[in-house]
């Protein structure tokens, strides 16, 4: 029998999709009958349901704002949560969230997942969120005394560390990359791991005016959507030509290979039409098919990946690979949502990644000095101007940084760049230009 009546939450179970309410009820029931020696209140999940029902009834949040942030020596990884109705819901008087650094590309063994669940059943609420939007493993709800206990077990038995929160470097996150994907233009896992280890101090202790995120996409398909979600986005790309296997192109045209590796075979779309489905959809119109041979004008190609995604057996990424680096994406908080801006069109991504670290540190130093409190990097770039940001990065303006002529007119001449400076002889000028 449920501890609290939850008529409004029950409504949420009625749709055809899985419901988080059912999940919490299931865990509440398990905790009621388990023989595990629980270190947190048995009724945590029941009280959580009760509090949520009250929240819907009152139409106000019943969690207090903020609080404790970490375990000893850490200034991140724990989000303090205290309920403002502790007498009614004593089992969730304190119900802190822990953020755990996910392994690169989220590779787990079932053994690890079992250990993680066992740990969290015993020392937390048993409720998790796999994964939070930054990428971390999110462990929802534990008491203050359990924080250090969980941290000890996590680091000593599971060999996993807490992730970032607050004004820290947030847990870096990467696509599956070279581990399984032939499109990867650099080793996303290696770079993600390397930078995570290099910047442990920034990850665990507040270091900046606000949060800072790195994300690593191995190619422009953008499986971790770094362009929309990271202050510094790495997107794999190549400088040379798309490799074409003309025989395989013919096999696609002849219907021997399924387009998109059969991903759209749930419905009959008719015979594959290369002209309509590939050539016609190339955003830069740089492809040509004469019935025998496929041609690509590579200098016009923007590496959008469309043709490669449709015909992966015929087309492959180039061999001179690296990444484009973009800065400044963010969700709407102060300003509206913003995508990252292309800043480094191409960089080779090679160990020990010194060139990347050099760039990161230039940006951090400037932002720490010039950024306002709670101002994301992208907002600061808007405020000081992209030109200033390029100076900070010690980069020259490049036509590839703008979308099309005159749409982003943010590169201005400086006096030193102009022969003769700003001074001019007005009489000379008037000879050619009437008033």
């Amino acid at each position: 029998m449920a501890k609290h009546k939850t008529p409004m939450l029950d409504e949420l179970e009625k749709g055809k999709w899985p419901s988080f309410v059912s999940d919490i009820k299931q865990e509440a029931e398990n905790r009621g009958k388990t023989s595990v020696d629980l270190q947190t209140p048995k009724e945590a999940c029941d009280d959580l349901l009760g509090l949520l029902e009250l929240t819907y009834k009152d139409k106000v949040v019943h969690w207090k704002h903020g609080g404790i942030v970490g375990v000893f020596g850490y200034g991140g990884g724990v989000i303090g949560r205290y309920c403002d109705q502790p007498d009614q819901f004593p089992a969730i008087r304190d119900f802190h969230t822990m953020r755990v650094n996910q392994p690169s590309s989220k590779f787990y063994s079932t053994e690890f997942l079992r250990q993680l669940c066992d740990l969290w059943e015993r020392r937390g609420s048993g409720l998790t969120n796999m994964h939070g939007s930054t990428g971390d493993i999110i462990l929802l709800g534990t008491t203050t005394p359990q924080l250090e206990e969980v941290f000890w077990e996590m680091t000593h038995n599971l060999h996993q560390d807490l992730g970032g929160s607050g004004s820290n470097l947030r847990t870096p996150s990467d696509c599956i990359g070279m581990a399984r994907c032939e499109y990867a233009c650099y080793d996303t896992m290696a770079l993600c791991y390397n930078l995570t280890m290099e910047y442990q101090d920034e990850l665990h202790r507040p270091a900046f005016p606000y949060k800072f995120k790195f994300k690593f996409d191995g190619c422009p398909n953008g499986c971790v959507a770094s362009i929309a979600r990271a202050d510094m986005s790495f997107i794999g790309t190549w400088r040379d030509d798309i490799r074409i296997d003309q025989e395989a192109v013919k096999a696609y045209v002849g219907g021997e290979f399924k387009p998109n590796a059969g991903a759209h075979s749930g419905r009959d779309w008719g015979a594959f039409d290369i002209q309509k489905e590939v050539i016609g959809l190339c955003p830069t119109q740089c492809m040509e098919w004469d019935g025998k041979k496929l041609k690509i004008d590579n200098k016009e190609c923007t590496r959008c990946m469309h043709c490669i995604n449709v015909m992966p057996r015929a087309l492959r990424i180039g061999q001179d690979t690296g990444a484009s680096i973009l800065f400044g994406a963010k969700a709407p908080i102060l300003e509206g949502a913003q995508m990252s801006t292309l800043t480094v069109p191409f960089m080779k991504i090679e160990e020990p990644y010194d060139e990347i670290k050099d760039l990161i540190e230039k940006v951090w130093d400037y932002w720490s000095e010039e950024g306002k409190n709670r101002e994301r990097l992208g907002e600061m770039i808007q405020r000081v101007g992209f030109q200033k940001f390029l100076e900070v990065c010690e980069l020259e303006p490049d036509p590839r940084m703008i979308q099309e002529p005159r749409s982003n007119p943010y590169i201005f001449w400086k006096e030193g760049d102009v022969p003769g400076g700003w001074d001019r002889d007005i009489n000379e000028f008037r000879k050619k230009h009437q008033r």
Binding site: K64, I68, G75, G80, Y82, P86, T144, R205, R374
Partner: protein, 80 residues
């Protein structure tokens, strides 16, 4: 100025700000105008480890204050 003097300057400055108990990391930079923010950050974080200062976070932003001053949700939770 030695590191102990730096710490004392931080403690005195925070104590002198009446009515304000939590500060952004950047507020500490202005106490040391000719230092790099990265060095100031290290100093502040080491003072937290020593128990002189403490962090407070909303989850998205981190604030820093003198240990034990201002609203303490944990203490509040116990009092109630």
């Amino acid at each position: 100025m030695g590191i102990e003097d730096d710490k004392q300057l931080i403690l005195d400055t925070l104590k002198s700000k009446k009515g304000k108990t939590k500060f952004y990391l950047k507020d500490f930079n202005s106490m040391f105008p000719d230092r790099k923010p990265r060095d100031v950050k290290k100093l502040v974080n080491s003072m937290v480890s020593e128990g002189l200062l403490e962090y407070w976070s909303s989850g998205s932003t981190t604030l820093i204050g003198l240990k034990g001053s201002g609203v303490q949700h944990e203490a509040e939770a116990k009092e109630e």
